[in-house]
């Protein structure tokens, strides 16, 4: 059920078969393959990141296993000139928008240069303090509106973030101001150990839009076609002056919260395993295979290509020296204040 009472938006079911007439972009097999490859790249990145973390070569990392369709689908529904404000499990969308695996490895490896994206220069770095970034999307959107720029701010947050005041304040403000912003809740059903039922008594997260006076709808977050189509429609409505909206994408966190988490402490296999049948990569592969656009050879080639791209950037990351220590100081202010410069000189042994 959505906030409006309509059914969940879905185009491709878990068996890979279309359950509704596909949107135009999804009738182009090449475009579907592009989405599929993006999800494979995300999964390959996650696998490599976990491997690096387990061998002490990367910091704590938030895997997106099972949620690739949300992240990729949201980014695919945006235009390059829009601004993406992701939470910390949206590497799929970041990669789609041109953040490189190298930059992501650098960031998660503890190097600030990983957030100095060479591609999407105006996209926000990931938001770690949960749900504190929806107000930023409203501010970005209001800047677009003031300058008469046909651009949209797209903020992705998790189900846990919808319990935060900042989220309620932001969607309310966006509604009052008709800000060109779209809020996407990546509902993976778990906020570390807290399941959705303990997060809210609301029947859906989309219905939180009702109180803000903005449209809210649910989409099957394991169907990348549905995510992209829904987000694209919301983004284009906002771009055209139709105002903000809230999209709840229903997916499932198949992995641990992060590499520092052990989900077996709070949920068992019986809870998790049915969701493997729903997962987005398998679903689109079934669809592509059923429509003749994909086969085993292409699959093997695509997986190898994704792994090669990720491995090459992992090697670059591992070969990248740490920044000089003075850079601790150098970006605190636009110009170095005398007071901080004294500390900088002392740290470098000069004073």
């Amino acid at each position: 059920m959505t906030a409006s009472g309509a059914s969940l938006s879905r185009f491709i079911g878990p068996d890979g078969l279309a359950v509704a007439a596909l949107p135009d972009f999804a009738r182009d097999a090449a475009e579907l393959v592009r989405l599929y490859r993006a999800m494979l790249l995300t999964r390959a990145f996650d696998e490599k990141a976990v491997a690096l973390q387990r061998t002490g070569r990367l910091g704590t990392f938030a895997v997106s296993l099972g949620q690739e369709a949300v992240s990729v689908g949201v980014a695919a529904g945006m235009r390059a000139e829009d601004v993406f404000l992701p939470s910390f499990r949206e590497q799929g969308g970041q990669l789609w928008r041109g953040v490189t695996p190298l930059e992501l490895f650098l960031y998660w490896g503890g190097d600030e240069r990983g957030s100095d994206f060479k591609g999407p220069r105006q996209d926000f770095p990931i938001c770690i303090p949960v749900g504190s970034h929806p107000p930023h999307a409203v501010g970005v959107a209001m800047a677009f509106k003031l300058r008469r720029e046909p651009r949209v701010a797209v903020c992705v947050l998790g189900d846990g973030a919808t319990s935060k005041g900042d989220f309620a304040e932001a969607i309310n403000m966006a509604g009052v101001w008709n800000a060109p912003a779209v809020f996407v809740v990546n509902n993976n059903r778990w906020a570390i150990s807290v399941p959705l039922a303990r997060q809210t008594a609301a029947r859906s997260l989309a219905q939180k839009a009702v109180a803000a006076g903005i449209p809210g709808e649910q989409v099957d977050g394991n169907d990348v076609v549905a995510v992209r189509a829904t987000v694209e429609r919301a983004v284009e409505r906002a771009r055209g002056g139709g105002g903000p909206s809230l999209v709840e994408a229903l997916t499932y966190r198949l992995g641990d919260h992060t590499t520092a988490d052990d989900a077996s402490r709070y949920r068992d296999d019986a809870e998790v395993s049915p969701h493997w049948a729903e997962e987005p990569v398998l679903r689109l592969r079934r669809h592509l295979t059923a429509t003749g656009a994909w086969d085993r050879a292409r699959e093997e080639q695509a997986i190898a290509a994704a792994a090669a791209a990720v491995n090459a950037d992992a090697d670059r990351y591992l070969a990248t020296p740490a920044q000089p220590r003075e850079t601790i100081f150098d970006f605190t202010y636009a110009a170095m204040p005398a007071d901080l410069d004294a500390q900088r000189r002392a740290a470098l042994g000069g004073a």
């Binding site: 105006q122 930023h136 409203v138 501010g139 800047a143 900042d166 932001a170 901080l340």
Partner: protein, 326 residues
């Protein structure tokens, strides 16, 4: 030259900044048609329209958060928090986002925003309207914390804050909003940030203060002059980053120092200044550094607030203690 009080000077600076730079926008609760509860934004809505003078819903965290988003896009938002008692939700946005956006993106994004709020006691305001939270803000790296102490300094420092490429918290002493007038030239000239203002020279002792307490400190200096004690007065103005050089140089000359502020004593910004003096003026000190501050208590309600605020007598007494130290 026109005589203005402090809130009028703030108003002129905002109008000047908005007229000079179309990227300057004002947002906050009641800042539009109402012109702000203290009238700091009076007339701006009529002159610049509701796209640039934005009445917000009652949501302080989002006011600061929206300003972060605007600033990252190159606007220069000036957000108003109605009273300092309501500044605590925005501190999350200041600590976690505004102050570190430049660092965490290695300069790709920046946050040229100003968060204005009235601060301090002495106007018999309701509960939660009289606190002095500057020290907890001044410890945030990447942020500037500025407190003007006169109409002219409010005008020039606010213009500087708005033009600064980094986030600034601008705390306006409520007690001074209408307490005094002085000539203010609305010429668009900013005053320097990160610099103290030496308001009075004095060879015997240095009184260091900021914000509304500047008034009592200057009065104390006058009182001491009548007793033959030449007290200098320094208005710190920008608490962070601190102009250590000016303060240390003055205390090296006098050898004695009183630091006065309204905020609670322990961990107040006076403690930081005292530590700097202990480190960099130790050999010149002729007496222990004296601090006169609010107490480590909840800010009292209006009937007792005069007993809490550093008074001219308390500041003068601290100076006499320092002078009398053998």
């Amino acid at each position: 030259m026109e005589e203005l009080n402090l809130v009028q000077a703030v108003n002129r600076a905002l109008a000047r900044a908005m007229a000079d730079d179309p990227s300057v926008v004002v947002l906050g609760e009641d800042v539009g048609r109402d012109g702000g509860v203290f009238r700091a934004t009076d007339g701006l809505w009529t002159r610049f329209g509701d796209e640039r003078v934005i009445d917000t819903p009652l949501a302080e965290a989002a006011i600061a958060g929206v300003a972060v988003g605007m600033a990252a896009q190159g606007l220069r938002p000036v957000a108003e928090i109605q009273f300092t008692g309501f500044i605590y939700p925005p501190i999350d946005q200041l600590v976690n986002h505004a102050s570190r956006l430049r660092t965490r993106t290695r300069g790709r994004l920046a946050c040229p925003m100003v968060l204005r709020a009235p601060c301090g006691g002495g106007i018999h305001a309701p509960e939660h309207h009289s606190e002095s939270p500057e020290a907890m803000l001044a410890q945030i790296p990447g942020l500037r914390v500025v407190l003007p102490s006169s109409p002219a300094r409010a005008y020039g420092l606010l213009l500087a804050a708005i033009r600064d490429p980094d986030p600034v918290v601008f705390l306006e002493p409520t007690r001074l909003y209408r307490a005094l007038r002085e000539p203010v030239d609305d010429n668009g000239e900013a005053l320097p940030l990160d610099r103290c203002f030496v308001l009075r020279e004095g060879k015997d002792i240095t009184l260091v203060t900021w914000g509304a307490t500047v008034v009592e400190t200057l009065a104390a200096a006058e009182l001491l002059a009548g007793e033959g004690i030449a007290a200098g007065v320094i208005d710190v103005a920008t608490l962070h980053p601190l102009d250590q050089e000016t303060i240390v140089a003055a205390v090296r000359r006098t050898g004695r120092c009183v630091i006065a502020h309204e905020a609670p004593l322990s961990g107040g910004w006076g403690a930081e200044i005292a530590a700097r003096l202990a480190e960099h003026a130790f050999a010149s000190l002729l007496a222990p550094i004296q601090r006169v501050a609010g107490y480590d208590t909840v800010m009292p309600l209006p009937r007792l607030e005069a007993h809490y605020l550093p008074s001219t007598q308390r500041i003068a007494a601290a100076a006499r203690r320092a002078m009398g130290f053998a």
